[in-house]
Amino acid sequence: METLLLDTSKFIELNFQAVGFLFIVGFIGGLVSGFIGSGGAFVLTPGMMSLGVPGTVAVASNMCHKFPKALVGAIKRFRYGQVDIKLGLITAASAGVGVQIGIMIQRAILDRWGQAGSDLYVSLSFVAVLVIVGGYIMMDAVKCARCGGEEKPSSLAQRLQKIEIWPMITFKTSGLRISLWFTIPVGLATGMLAATIAVGGFIGVPGMIYVVGASSLVASASELVVAFIMGMAGTVNWAMHGMVDIRLVLIILAGSLLGVQLGAIGTTYVREHMIKSVMATIMLIVAVSRAIAVPKYLVKLGIMDVSEGALSIMGSVSFAFMCLALGVGSVIILGAMWKGRRVEVPSRA
């Protein structure tokens, strides 16, 4: 029997509810990741913190579960012919640089405006990106659904692909050829967002779709490659500082490895615009969640005056909306899979 006592400032006592919560959230987060290429982190990290896990341990443990989950999802979707490894690797390279830029910006804001200012910056960036990008994807998904669900590269991507600036890269799986220079902003933005809100895919996947011109299937699948590389690099860093709680990681993995494969399978049941719909829905609900959390930081900075009680309620509502985002996403995915299974598959000649 274990006689060793853990450092309680870093490692929480695990009870049955905590294990159950982490397993279920891990499963749903995995399901969403397997389908849209990202997500889960924004509920898992605050979820762990709501169990009493310190912020850095929560971030580190989430990252340590994210990269093997992304690997398993990427392998599964690679077998379905959806992963463009080259696209994933190239995006990951500039994303790595983007992470460093994002960290530098965060440090500068922390120095200038303190913790509350930094948290406000994070929340406002979150809301702005989610609303603008999520709103755009939603409009596009509705348009795609209306015109028979056939995806076409965006006009921006088509124009960028025609511009010949060395080096031009051919992406076979995506079926496109574009200058390396146009993939760099996508990667940089992914890294910067990952450093800020821990979910780079909310820019990475739309970036690959609308800037580079990959399909939703290929973009969401290739994002898993990016998530694997960045997740592993980040984990090495955190683990070297001793911040990973392996118990939490393994419990979350138990659920997410089941979920990610189900999500990956799900992509073969649905029309491509569904990936956009699910992504946009989740992003918009999370935007509401983060917007509700903004007053807390305004109060800390003395810009707004709200009672403690009201702030506490807002905090709970904000967390509830985050869980709702994942919940709604998974219901849409499972519903689409259920509907899709009843459609006859035409026999191949």
């Binding site: 274990e2 853990l6 500082h241 392996i246 118990r247 990681v249 993995l253 598959v345």
Partner: protein, 95 residues
């Protein structure tokens, strides 16, 4: 759920990997505190959590994959796959 034609359910594989997965989890959690403390020592102990998750992901991931197959949840073959629009052919030395 749709099954690929002639697919046999990998029951034995599911059971084997399930047992391995349960054994790994049991081993990890009966020594949870020791493992957690060791892996949080930093520097080269960083390899601990990383190698652990690779091992668990292989065992549990394979179990999960086979479990879904046994439950009949498999990928649907895409009907008449549209060929991806290939970039225009052009004379190149390095693409």
């Amino acid at each position: 759920m749709a099954q690929p034609t002639g697919g046999k359910k990998p029951v034995l594989k599911t059971i084997i990997y399930g047992v391995v997965s349960v054994a790994l989890y049991a081993a990890a959690f009966t020594h949870a505190n020791t493992l957690t403390e060791l892996f949080s020592r930093g520097s080269f102990w960083a390899a601990g959590p990383i190698l652990t998750v690779f091992v668990f992901s292989y065992a549990h991931g394979t179990f999960a994959s086979n479990l879904w197959s046994c439950l009949g949840v498999v990928a649907r073959p895409r009907a008449a796959k549209r060929p991806a629009a290939r970039p225009q052919a052009r004379a190149t030395i390095n693409a």
